[in-house]
């Protein structure tokens, strides 16, 4: 029982068996989180640094909680207020931290491929907590866990990923994972936010009509419009985007079946998702957040375990 990789850099590098193992392990950790004492001594002798070169609320708190629930020692690093602001390189910073006997690195960086670069140069296990517009593997894993929890399995399920596919690492990780696990994927959004060759690259469907995508799917994963990653406007206004691609309760009620609504957060309420849909019974957004801790515990446990095998 062991993952086929030493790091979690992206879903791209995982085998279906690895994904299955992570999700099954997370189920056990979810049970731990429901106990009177929500903590196990499993990673007592493991030290983990959370290296965040980019802002984060959910992911950082979720990782930190996961580490603490596993009894690991944690150090938090944020780029602002550190020597990175004085011009220290990423590799220097990490090597300095590792020389203080740190076993694992959880990192988020605005540059795609930053954790892959680091993995080539340092001995510690790396967990990618989001790199630029490339991947956000633990988000895809917790999304998969939440779908599995609600619908029983992933194979054969129809998932629509809606919105800013172009700038979304959540979208890319989700596509990799869902395709590997045998789900069907449709990408929906304005043509300017969907990469041109993605249909052939991943064997996914592309749909420019929101209603058609929602009618087709079992699960709609609504993504955030990432204004901070758009250098030039790709749609005319947020209001126009919301009118054409915003998901609201009226639209959901008019569909022929009840679908599950997901969102990786933070929500731009009233833009990609209206409050009445985000807070409805169909939404599993807060379950996603809850499951995030269990899934990250599973990832950390599986990467740390067996690391000093003689």
């Amino acid at each position: 029982m062991q993952l086929s990789t030493k790091h979690l850099l992206g879903i791209r590098d995982l085998q279906p068996d690895d994904i299955q193992l992570i999700l099954d392990t997370a189920t056990q950790f979810k049970e731990v989180l429901q106990r009177p004492i929500k903590k196990v001594p499993t990673l007592r002798d493991v030290t983990i640094v959370n290296l965040f070169y980019e802002n984060s609320t959910r992911t950082r708190i979720s990782f930190e909680l996961a580490e603490k629930r596993l009894s690991a020692d944690t150090i938090n690093f944020t780029a602002s207020g550190s020597s990175a602001a004085k011009g220290e390189t990423l590799l220097d910073t990490v090597n300095n931290i590792l020389s203080m006997k740190v076993d694992m690195v959880v990192m988020r960086h605005s540059a795609s491929g930053a954790p892959h670069f680091l993995a080539k140069h340092i001995p510690a296990a790396i967990v990618n907590a989001g790199d630029g517009i490339n991947e956000h593997p633990t988000q895809a894993l917790l999304d998969a866990f939440s779908i599995r929890e609600r619908l029983g399995s992933l194979a054969g399920k129809k998932v629509a990923i809606i919105g800013d596919i172009m700038h979304s690492r959540v979208a890319l990780s989700n596509i990799w994972l869902l395709k590997k696990m045998g789900a069907e994927v449709t990408l929906a959004g304005p043509p300017t936010l969907i990469p041109v060759h993605i249909r052939e690259a991943f064997d996914v469907r592309v749909e420019y009509n929101l209603r058609a995508a929602l009618e087709w799917c079992d699960v709609a994963n609504v993504l955030r419009i990432q204004l901070e990653r758009q250098n030039q406007p790709l749609f005319s206004s947020l209001r126009e985007y919301s009118l054409a691609y915003g998901v609201n309760k009226r639209l959901l009620d008019s569909l022929s079946k009840e679908i599950v609504i997901m969102h990786p957060g933070p929500i731009n309420r009233g833009v990609e998702l209206d409050s009445d849909a985000a807070d409805s019974k169909q939404s599993i957004i807060l379950h996603q957040v809850e499951n995030g801790v269990a899934v990250r515990m599973a990832v950390l446990y599986l990467l740390a375990g067996g690391s000093t095998k003689p």
Partner: protein
């Protein structure tokens, strides 16, 4: 290979242990049984099966405990995970921990740690089918023993169960 318990002896031993437990925990008031995953469950299932013929089934509180997260050897290798299911409070209860083989005592050490995360029991007792005496690495002893045996460290005790292995038998390999 030496047979320690054959099918009939195993059945009698389980019967005896069940009666002993009942004798010391009158009608199981304030007592709960917890089997240790994975192989202890086959043994605890049999005990509970016996108990059901002797007391009202709703008087029996039976849980299962997986100790993987409490092991002291996580860094040297991962072990298969199993389900923990303790659907009742163990606060101030008499807990009977049940496992198939007591050997080094490390599993029970982990089980005690795991158990305390579910509350503070009034008392914890240990019931095992086979006690490999003189091979302990920790100061842990069983309260209820099916069969004590003397073995050397290179030997293996294998417990076979009908449901899993197709026969009921305990053997020393």
């Amino acid at each position: 290979m030496k047979i320690i318990l054959n099918e009939q002896q195993l059945a009698i031993t389980i019967q005896r242990l069940t009666h002993q437990l009942l004798e010391n925990h009158i009608s199981l008031e304030n007592t709960v049984l917890i089997g240790i995953q994975p192989r202890g469950i086959y043994f605890s299932d049999r005990i509970v099966q016996q108990l059901r013929t002797l007391v009202a089934p709703d008087a029996i509180h039976y849980g299962k405990l997986d100790i993987t997260f409490y092991r002291d050897d996580v860094r040297t290798g991962l072990h298969e995970l199993n389900k923990t299911e303790i659907p009742f409070s163990i606060e101030n209860k008499n807990v009977i921990l049940i496992d198939d083989v007591l050997w080094t005592g490390r599993t029970i050490r982990a089980a005690l740690d795991a158990l305390l995360d579910f509350g503070r029991p009034a008392k914890v007792e240990l019931c095992v089918l086979i006690d490999r005496r003189f091979s302990r690495q920790l100061p842990i002893q069983a309260d209820w023993v099916g069969r004590p045996i003397d073995s050397i460290i290179t030997q293996k005790v294998k417990v076979y169960w009908q449901e899993k292995d197709g026969k009921d038998e305990v053997a020393l390999l």
